[in-house]
């Protein structure tokens, strides 16, 4: 070790002196001090400096004069006291809030009177997505009967995790999953089989489409395809298939009630 310099240098000495080294480092540093005159001297110098500062701490600290203190306290009291906010400002705030409230109530009522009907257009999209997958002969991007394979496949492809439920025991074996693009969002499509028929089950966060459907599956038919639509735990579900209506109802009830 060079007698006049040491790579550990002042920062570690300062941290040691300030009691800011954790125990392990403090012990290691003390061991180092025994064999490093540079650090020992640095520590002695910093201790001397600290001692001098502490001796003169009172002289080093600035205090506001009583007049300054009084002015500062008065400024706070004026700013925080009731007199500071003039009545007209309260009225301005009040009227601004009232106006906002009016706008909010009005737009809410308009929304109630003329609800958007995303479901109508979405039903077409759901059928189109299902038909597209059948036309391509490619109902599933990930073909697996194991929901533990299908569910992780969506990770990183969607910003939500679709529930993947296996209904093989009820006669609807899972055959895979695919990505689709419906309602202006990439969505999860799960593919089930019922005998020779394919059922597509789309699911996405209900908020995507401001879905107001209830938990009981609603029935619809488009171009000969049957649809069932419901929401559950904040997720929207659409089941679509050319399977007989009873089978699809049973499928939907199993999922909606499970």
């Amino acid at each position: 070790m060079n007698a006049t310099s040491c790579p550990r240098t002042a920062p570690e000495v300062a941290a040691y002196l300030d009691g800011e080294l954790d125990l392990a480092h403090a012990v290691a540093f003390e061991r180092h001090l025994e064999e490093c005159p540079a650090c020992a001297r640095e520590l002695a110098a910093q201790e001397a400096l600290r001692g001098a500062i502490q001796d003169h701490a009172a002289e080093l600290r600035f205090h506001p004069t009583p007049a300054q203190t009084e002015r500062l306290r008065r400024a706070v009291r004026q700013a925080g006291g009731p007199a500071e906010v003039p009545a007209f400002r309260q009225w301005r705030q009040l009227s601004a809030i009232a106006a906002l409230l009016l706008v909010a109530v009005t737009s809410w009522s308009l929304g109630r009177l003329w609800p958007p009907r995303p479901a109508a257009g979405l039903a077409e999209e759901v059928v189109a997505g299902h038909v597209r997958s059948l036309l391509a002969g490619h109902p599933a991007d990930v073909a697996s009967t194991d929901r533990h394979t299908v569910k992780p496949w969506f990770t990183g492809k969607l910003d939500y995790a679709p529930a993947v439920i296996d209904l093989a025991g009820q006669g609807f074996p899972l055959i895979g999953g695919r990505l689709d693009y419906l309602g202006h969002h990439p969505v999860a499509g799960l593919v089930y089989r019922s005998d020779r028929h394919v059922i597509s089950l789309y699911t996405w966060p209900a908020a995507y489409t401001e879905d107001r459907a209830g938990p009981v599956p609603e029935a619809a038919t488009r171009q000969g395809f049957h649809l069932r639509h419901w929401t559950r735990n904040g997720m929207a579900y659409w089941a679509v298939s050319d399977v007989e209506e009873d089978r699809l109802s049973r499928f939907a009830r199993l999922l909606a009630g499970s």
């Binding site: 006049t4 002042a10 920062p11 000495v13 701490a57 080093l60 004069t65 306290r73 400024a75």
Partner: protein
Amino acid sequence: MPPLGLAAGGDTMSARVADLSALPTMPILFRDRASRRDGRLHRFEAAVLPHLDSAYDLARWLTRSDAEAEDVVQTACLRALKGFDGFQGANPRAWLFAIVRHAFHDWLRQRSRGHEIADPFDEEIHTQEAGSQGEGPEARLLRQADGRLLREGFAALPLPLREAMVLREIEGLSYKEIAAVAGIPMGTVMSRLARARRQLQDFLIAHGAKEPTP
């Protein structure tokens, strides 16, 4: 700098302090406004005003002027009052320091005297000359420095070093608290303090050595 084991991390607090100073107050209507404001003012005065002297001390060291220090503290107090509803931390003193510091830097910018902080201040330049003073009487010399000389030495430090040194040596803050107040990592606190002490030592030795000590 080699990674050193500092005693604790300062992240949570620094986030809290930074958030709070920016919080606006939301008017809550339908309550007796006057009495609510009275209660709020009372709580503010009880929590924050005991630290008025500390705030002034920091502002005075940063501005190096009595009048400017008062202005900065007043600005800071009014901002603190404004953001007080959002303050839930356990350390109103450090919170006030952070606001004083912000108010000071705003004042500095307004006065277009930014050159003091705009000075290139390289955190990476460490005190390589540690121990280069040679053997001998520096510890004794330092120990004998008087209040006036120390004051001059503190005042001569560059702003970031002065700030760290005042918070540590005069106001007694921990590294973690300084990191939160100044919005810098703990390692930077450590290296700034080390540089500040080095410079202060050099200053005291250079100026103290001229005068024969009794």
